[in-house]
Point group: C2
Chain length 571, copies 2
């Protein structure tokens, strides 16, 4: 590519409305431009990267034995009604009517369509297992699209769906996908972790997320200091060590007129937050028990995913209305506690071993101090209710936990029969009887990967691609004063043609720009290898080489330049 | 690919609802499956072909200097309001609201989005010309989707848009695109014609359609027998030769109570249709003249595109309501004619040279016979109003016209400033003043190309791909009794691995199927080169080769097989 014929669209200033570095750099590097909220045009530089990522994903999927198909963006409502997601899915599912007044959706995912396809095309267990994938445009009507293509509304996704008659076969494909995803993210040069994850509303049993480590990530992921244990914080089990100490003081009812929160109590009564309990009232799972109290330690956070899995608690988890709480309990949310409480109570494991603790008294403006289980109030049901914190023991018994931020770029699920059962997707089994298939599904956010790679790897001059394989160009030729120096122009053109003919993705900066502008553009878009051709150096038989990652300049002899460049690519 | 791990989905029976051969074969070959009206899933075999076509299009577009971008499927209504197409476009434009109640469309085309993008990114004439393209999913809410992917609602399109400050520059890029399209359709092995076309509602001046010749085509295209003149029938000028003969009989008013149509008159009065004129009443362009009569010869067809370009006629052309006609003229549509008509009349060139002709009398059940211009009624305005017919002189003066059916697979337009003016897309010109850019646009229906190729090239056994380059697989290895014969299995596996390692797109039919089933599947999906491995032949050192196009079998010596196969590919 000649830069003079290319659409650079680089920006000098960082756009105001971009909060994360990948969004800022994708705008500055001329990779994307917003069209509307959560909708992006991919400019040439961005699209080149996106296509390179897409091709790596495709190659590894093909290697895994998965077969590529393509399903429409527009899907008929009937299938979503059959799976019951027409009702269950929120406003992220964009629904519309065609000119014939029939209901359709813009597909955020394709479980329904693929299950419909496979139930029509596959009739025998002999045709299984089958793993079908596509790399295709998806739409999710996010309430708050943000961070550029990281959480856009229209995005490029690789989604795969596997079909089986046995759990063993599903497990086998699941493991192949786990390995394939590891290969993909390794080839992309990303620092990632595969973490155990909750299966969420998509249903099913086993699930792993592939998380790229980055400060701006929206997910908390948890590791062991000493083992390969890794989980999404939603799923990580909180292990509580230690035993309950004996009571040392008498329970007292104290006036606390100005203490509505844990922080208030800590400040006003010189308490430590881990000596206070926090009582949260949520909606119950049944009409007979419309409210349930969940109690965690004052310095902990409720884990909503764990909570809503409890049989007593409504799913999805919903906090009770303040008016309803006051009506039932007689006190405001700042003064609740387990003593004399008439609704079911569940306490976190770490709460169960507390002694001499402080709690709301279910009377406005009053707290009990020095409360002890059994002595002052019976110990309620105990469960794992909280998010882990750094330093907690690892659930596998090895080491303690660390927490980092991650960007989810991939997710693999064992779906089981959630969709195949609802949609009656059966095959003839070995014994001739119809069996419901079981399914796995496997997603990669292809456009999000591009942002995640930048998030992880950049400096104040711009993007540093984690691997040459996804840089928009592999080599940049930057001639000094090409318009005036005949020798520079001649050498640059020759080198350009030679590299092109050898299949190197090269850009020749033949623009009438100052050297500083050319350098800045090439560094901003992250071309990993830059060759600078100057008249004086050329006369001495030398060419300047600069590596984007290392940053230092090197003089290379003209004769050795080609071999040198090739030895540098993908290093 | 191993056939045992592949999703064939071939069908023995031709589906009832498929009317054209490409649709039938795409279903039978397991290339596509309907999801809803005009929406198709692309199965592996179909997608492989689609991707190969897409890559050829991409390679040639890149060669032409065009730069790839990607714009969203979902587009904000504001841009369509700015270009005024929000009002002008019919119900083919699918409109919907997002969760925030903002208006959006599913893009049937991207003139608005690209014009918006370029007006933001390009500020100087120095950055022009620029030709940006994408290969992307489009949606058009067709009232009657038909012929499979040929006229689907969701389809894959390559659309390019070029930007210029001078007509010369636009003309230059237009010519490059003309040549690029010719290269693409030649590489695809299609029998096509580039024909002059009407620019239609998309606006602009020059325009060519690229038409693949096929019986099932929906367009009539017109050629000269002796020159390279070729045009869409909508555009082809009808040249009328000969002069008006002198009148030979007296005009008579005849009772024709049972003659409402040209066919009735021909049958009941022993007339030739070319001695009768047909008077059609359409809506006028102004309120002062709400009706206009268009007169063509009884054996000719009105050309609506030519008619609506007349200043007197409303655009788009609309026939007048029968009640309105009767009110104004006093007779039904079966009895109209130019005598005593009080609305503007325009006659076709061929009508102007008629003599002693028959026409409706503007009185129900009566016609005038032996009418002559000037003598009986003044000759009205004359214009080219009709479709050409075979045998008409070529408009370039060389030879006569032939008419064939075509499938439009590409279309190039000089748009001029239609969009850039409406959307104020300007750049700073050489003199420093702002200039409105002018544009070209260039489309290829990528998914339609797949259907058109099949339409043009097939036999009773299935698809014959016009070039190896777009066949789903290049070579099929069909071993006989692989499950039982060790030597066959060993040789087949070795050959498979060798071809794979040499980059040949090969399928090994390792299914436990009868040979007849394997042959039929490979021929149905159109694998161009089939290698049949039998135990006895193998023992003799011979391998059977069959070419899908030629059909005949050939025995090849084992030693020479690889060289032979490679010599056959792309022949």
């Amino acid at each position: 590519m000649r830069a003079s014929k290319y659409l650079f669209s680089t920006l000098k200033e960082t756009p105001n409305d971009a909060q994360v570095v990948s969004h800022q750099l994708m705008l500055r590097a001329g990779m994307v431009r917003p069209l509307a909220s959560g909708l992006y045009n991919w400019l040439p530089t961005g699209l080149k990267v996106l296509k390179k990522v897409e091709n790596i994903v495709r190659e590894e999927m093909n290697k895994s034995g998965a077969i590529e198909v393509e399903m429409p963006v527009v899907q008929p409502a009937e299938l979503w009604q059959e799976s019951a997601r027409w009702e269950q899915y929120g406003p992220e599912l964009l629904r519309f009517k065609d000119r014939g007044n029939r209901d359709f959706v813009l597909g955020p995912t394709h479980e329904e369509v693929i299950t419909d396809l496979v139930r029509r095309e596959v009739s025998s267990y002999k045709q299984l297992p089958l793993n079908l994938y596509q790399i295709q445009t998806k739409f999710r009507d996010e309430v708050r699209p943000r961070f550029g293509v990281m959480r856009g509304r229209e995005f490029l996704m690789k989604d795969a769906y596997s079909f089986h008659t046995t759990k063993e076969s599903l497990q086998e494909t699941y493991e192949v996908m786990y390995q394939t995803y590891s290969n993909i993210f390794n080839r992309l040069g990303l620092d990632f972790r595969a973490v155990q994850a909750d299966t969420g509303s998509i249903g099913g049993s086993a699930s792993h997320e592939f998380q790229v480590l980055a400060q701006s990530g929206e997910d908390d992921i948890v590791f062991s200091t000493e083992s390969d244990y890794a989980a999404n914080i939603e799923l990580a089990e909180a292990i509580t060590v230690g035993e309950r100490q004996a009571a040392t003081a008498v329970m007292e009812l104290i006036d606390t007129p100005n203490a509505k929160t844990i922080a208030d109590l800590v400040e006003q009564y010189n308490l430590s937050a881990d000596k206070i309990i926090k009582t949260l009232v949520v909606k119950g799972a049944t009409e007979a028990q419309p409210l349930v109290a969940l109690i965690i330690r004052g310095d902990h956070e409720l884990n909503e995913v764990k909570a809503q899995k409890l049989p007593e608690v409504a799913e999805p988890l919903e906090f009770a209305d303040e008016v309803v709480i006051r009506e039932k309990i007689g006190a405001g949310v700042g003064s609740l506690g387990p003593i004399n409480l008439t609704i079911p109570v569940i306490v976190d494991r770490s709460v169960a071993i507390m002694s001499d603790f402080v709690t709301g008294a279910n009377i406005d403006g009053k707290h009990y101090f020095n409360v002890n289980w059994e002595r002052d109030v019976p110990l309620p049901k105990v469960a794992d209710l909280r998010n882990v914190v750094e330093g907690d023991p690892s659930p596998d018994g090895k080491g303690t936990l660390l927490i980092k931020r991650g960007i989810e770029v991939g997710h693999i699920f064992q779906l089981g029969d959630k969709y195949s059962k609802a949609m009656n997707a059966t095959v003839q089994g070995e014994d001739g009887r119809l069996e419901t298939m079981i399914m796995g599904c496997y997603g990669i956010g292809v456009s999000r990967v591009v942002a995640a790679a930048i998030e992880q790897s950049n400096d104040d001059r711009g993007i540093i691609w984690p691997t040459d394989a996804i840089a928009p160009f592999t080599v940049a030729i930057v001639p000094m004063n090409m318009q005036k120096s005949e020798s520079v122009a001649k050498y640059a053109e020759e080198l350009y043609r030679t590299l092109l003919s050898q299949g190197v993705d090269v850009i020749l900066d033949d623009r009438k720009e100052r050297p500083g502008v050319m350098f800045a553009d090439m560094e901003l878009i992250g071309v990993p290898h830059m060759i600078v051709i100057g008249e004086k150096n050329l006369a001495k038989g030398e060419i300047e080489y600069k590596n984007r990652r290392i940053g230092e300049k090197q003089m290379i002899s003209k004769d050795q330049l080609l071999d040198f460049i090739k030895s540098q690519i993908n290093k």
